[in-house]
C-alpha cells in the first residue's frame, strides 16, 4: 500500500500496463503535449489533466500518440486498432465531447461482436472526464454515464477512490470488451492508499462503502463521498446507512444493491446527472421490480435538475446534489409512514 493521488494511481497504472503488454497504446488530444513544435522536445503535458504524463518519454511516439481534434476519428482509430489486435486506451478529454464520437462507440465498437456473430473482439478503453465542480459550464461539466450505460456492448466504469482507479483501470485495459472509463475532474487530487504491484478490481462487483440498517444509498464517483458526508451527519441523529458504490454501472452488481435494500427496506439513489432516463432511475426501477415486498418507503432519487450545468459558482453549487440535500431526503425516507 502506498498513499498516492487518484491521478497518480491512473498514471502508474498506464505505465504498468504499457510495460506489461506491448499491445497497449495510448492516444488522444495532447496526451503528449508539444508535439510538432520544431523548437522543443515534447512530453510537456501528458493530457490536460496530466494523467498520461511520461508515457511518451517512456514508451515512445509509436505507443503514446497525440491526435488532432477529431473525436470521431480518435475513437474510430481506437476501435479499428482494437479489432486488429491492439489494446488502445484513448482519451476523450471531456465526456461532453461524446456527442461527436457516439457513432463509433454505439454503432461500431459496442456492436461488432454481436453483429459479427461473436467472432470479433474490440478491447479498447475510452478514458474520459466528467462531472461538475469546476465552473466549467454546460459543455464541460456533464455526467454522461447513463448515455453509455444504456448501450448494450459497452462496459461503464466510474472509480471513486485512488485504489479503485488503479484496480478498475487495470481490469479495463485487460478486458476484451470496449470499456468507457469515467474520471471525475474533482477527484484527481484526492489521496488514498493504493495496493502496490499488480492490482485488479473485478467489474460488476460493488464496493460496500459503509454498512447500516436504516437506508441504502447508492452512488458513484464524486457522489460517494457526498453520501459519506451525509451518512456521517445522519449517524449523529441515529440513522445508519448502507452506502453502495457499484463501481461499474454496466455490468451492474444488482445483488449488492438488492441485498442491501432487502435489509434496510429503503433506497435513495444519488447521482449528479439530470433525472430523466438516468442511472438513478435505473437503480430505482430495479429495486421497484425485484424487492418490492421489502420496501418500507418510496424510492427516492437525489439528482441534478432537468437543466444544463450552469456556470456561476452559486448556480453550480445549487445544481449538484449536496450532502445536505442527501441527508434531507434520507431523513424523509426513514421517517416515511
Amino acid at each position: 500500500m502506498t498513499e498516492i493521488t487518484f491521478r497518480e494511481a491512473l498514471t502508474n497504472t498506464l505505465h504498468q500496463e504499457m510495460a506489461r503488454d506491448e499491445n497497449v497504446i495510448v492516444l488522444g488530444e495532447d496526451v503528449v503535449g508539444g508535439t510538432g513544435n520544431p523548437h522543443v522536445e515534447p512530453d510537456f503535458v501528458g493530457g490536460v489533466f496530466g494523467v498520461t504524463a511520461g508515457l511518451y518519454t517512456k514508451f515512445g511516439v509509436e505507443r503514446c500518440i497525440d491526435m488532432p481534434i477529431s473525436e470521431a476519428g480518435i475513437v474510430g482509430t481506437a476501435a479499428g486498432a482494437a479489432l486488429a489486435g491492439k489494446r488502445p486506451v484513448a482519451e476523450i478529454m471531456f465526456c461532453d465531447f461524446m456527442g461527436l464520437c457516439l457513432d463509433q462507440l454505439m454503432n461500431q465498437a459496442a456492436k461488432f461482436r454481436y453483429m459479427f456473430g461473436g467472432k470479433a473482439t474490440c478491447p479498447m478503453v475510452i478514458r474520459t472526464t466528467y462531472g461538475a465542480g469546476m465552473n466549467a459550464a454546460s459543455q464541460h461539466s456533464q455526467s454522461l454515464h447513463p448515455l453509455v450505460t444504456m448501450i448494450p456492448g459497452l462496459k461503464v466504469v466510474i472509480p471513486s477512490t485512488p485504489a479503485d482507479a488503479k484496480g478498475l483501470l487495470t481490469t479495463a485495459i485487460r478486458d476484451d470488451d470496449p470499456v468507457i472509463f469515467f474520471e471525475h475532474k474533482t477527484l484527481y487530487t484526492i489521496s488514498g492508499d493504493v495496493p502496490d504491484g499488480d492490482y485488479t478490481v473485478p467489474f460488476g462487483k460493488a464496493r460496500i462503502v459503509s454498512e447500516g440498517e436504516d437506508c441504502t444509498l447508492v452512488a458513484t464517483g464524486r457522489m460517494v463521498s457526498f453520501c459519506e458526508n451525509a451518512a456521517q451527519a445522519l449517524s449523529e441523529d441515529g440513522i445508519s446507512c448502507d452506502i453502495i458504490d457499484p463501481r461499474t454501472t454496466s455490468p451492474l452488481d444488482e445483488d449488492a444493491i438488492l441485498d442491501s435494500v432487502e435489509k434496510t427496506g429503503r433506497l435513495v439513489v444519488v447521482d449528479e446527472t439530470p433525472p430523466r432516463c438516468s442511472f438513478a432511475c435505473d437503480v430505482a426501477a430495479l429495486a421497484a421490480s425485484e424487492v418490492f415486498s421489502s420496501l418500507k418507503a418510496p424510492i427516492k432519487q437525489v439528482t441534478a435538475p432537468h437543466s444544463p450545468v450552469p456556470f456561476a459558482k452559486e448556480l453550480e453549487a445549487a445544481y449538484v446534489p449536496s450532502p445536505a440535500k442527501i441527508k434531507d431526503i434520507v431523513e424523509q425516507t426513514v421517517n416515511y409512514k
Binding site: E62, T77, G80, Q104, N107, F116, G117, A120, D177
Partner: protein, 308 residues
C-alpha cells in the same frame, strides 16, 4: 468477379420472392473494383466495407455459402444470422465488416492501419466507400489522422454517381472526390473502375507504396451500379437510357471477358467453365441456406460481450 455478379443476380431474384428480409444493397456492376483491389491483398491485410458490401466480402475471401446463409438469417450463417447483409464480417480473412453507417468504415481502417504499422510486417488496411460517404465528417478525420501518422491505409472511393437517389455532382462541392482528398496531403489517383486490369494496376502500385511505409493514399474509381440503391428501388431518378447504356458499354464483366479473350489469356471454353462452376456454387449456397436451421430465441442475448 463472376461469383459476386451471380451472387447478386441470384439475390435479386430471391429477394423478390420474399425469402430474404431486411435492406439489401446489391454490388452488381462494381465487381472489378472489389476484386481488383483485393487481389493485391492477403488475409493479413484489412479491409472495411459499406452497406453495399457483398462484393468486398467475397473478394476478400469470405465464405460464399456462409454469406448466403447469413443473408437468409440462418444460425450457421457467417455471423450466426445476427448481422445480415449490412454486417457481414470475417476477422479470419481481415474483413472488418460491412457497415450500415455511411462513413463508418474509414476511421476503422485508419485504426487497423495503425495496428499494422505497429506490427511492422508490411500489412495494409483498405477502406471501401461510396461517393456519398466522402461528405461524412469522420471520413475526413480518418484521412487526416492517417496522413499525419503516415499509416499504411488506402481510401478507395467507388463513385457510382449516386448516393441513394441523389447525384454525386450535387452533393460534393469540389471538382472531384480525388481533388478534395488530395488537399489532405494524400497521394490520390483517379481511375477507370470499369476495367479490372486498370483497377488492379493502380492498386498494385498504391498498396506497394503503403506497404513500404510511404503513408496513406486514396483513389477514386468511376463505376456504376446495375440495380437500385436497395432492392425495391424503382430508380426513376436515373436518366432514361442510363442503365441500358451502362449494361451495354460499362459492364466490367463483359470488359474483362473481352480483354481476357483478346489477350488470349483464357479460352472461351475455360471462361464458360468458370462461369458454370460459379453458378453451381451459388445454387449450392442458396440450397444450403434454405435448408439451414433458424436461430433460436436464446441466441438473441449471446455474443454481446466476451464476458459480462
Amino acid at each position: 468477379m463472376k461469383t459476386i455478379r451471380e451472387f447478386e443476380e441470384r439475390l435479386h431474384k430471391e429477394i423478390a420472392t420474399g425469402a430474404i428480409a431486411g435492406f439489401t444493397h446489391l454490388y452488381a456492376g462494381q465487381e472489378s473494383i472489389a476484386v481488383g483491389v483485393c487481389e493485391n491483398l492477403t488475409n493479413d491485410d484489412y479491409i472495411t466495407s459499406t452497406h453495399r458490401g457483398h462484393g468486398h466480402c467475397i473478394a476478400k475471401g469470405c465464405d460464399v455459402i456462409g454469406m448466403m446463409k447469413e443473408l437468409y438469417g440462418r444460425a450457421d450463417g457467417l455471423c450466426k444470422g445476427k448481422g445480415g447483409s449490412m454486417h457481414v464480417a470475417d476477422m479470419d480473412v481481415g474483413m472488418l465488416g460491412a457497415n450500415g453507417i455511411v462513413g463508418g468504415g474509414p476511421p476503422l481502417a485508419t485504426g487497423a492501419a495503425l495496428a499494422a504499422k505497429l506490427d511492422g510486417k508490411g500489412e495494409v488496411a483498405v477502406s471501401f466507400g461510396g461517393d456519398g460517404s466522402c461528405n461524412q465528417g469522420p471520413v475526413f478525420e480518418a484521412m487526416n489522422i492517417a496522413a499525419i501518422l503516415k499509416l499504411p491505409s488506402i481510401y478507395v472511393y467507388e463513385n457510382n454517381r449516386y448516393s441513394e437517389h441523389t447525384h454525386s455532382s450535387y452533393v460534393i462541392a469540389s471538382e472531384s472526390i480525388a481533388s478534395r482528398v488530395e488537399g489532405f496531403g494524400i497521394h490520390t489517383v483517379k481511375a477507370n473502375g470499369f476495367d479490372f486490369f486498370e483497377v488492379h494496376e493502380v492498386m498494385k502500385e498504391l498498396i506497394a507504396k503503403a506497404r513500404e511505409g510511404n503513408g496513406p493514399c486514396a483513389v477514386e474509381f468511376e463505376t456504376t451500379r446495375f440495380y437500385g440503391h436497395f432492392e425495391g428501388d424503382p430508380q426513376n431518378y436515373r436518366a432514361p437510357t442510363e442503365l441500358e447504356d451502362d449494361r451495354e458499354n460499362n459492364d466490367c464483366l463483359k470488359i474483362f471477358r473481352s480483354k481476357v479473350s483478346e489477350a488470349g489469356l483464357l479460352a472461351d471454353e475455360d471462361l464458360d467453365n468458370i462461369d458454370n462452376e460459379v453458378l453451381a456454387l451459388i445454387d449450392d449456397a442458396v440450397e444450403q441456406a434454405q435448408n439451414s436451421p433458424a436461430p433460436t430465441p436464446d441466441d438473441v442475448t449471446t455474443d454481446v460481450y466476451v464476458s459480462y
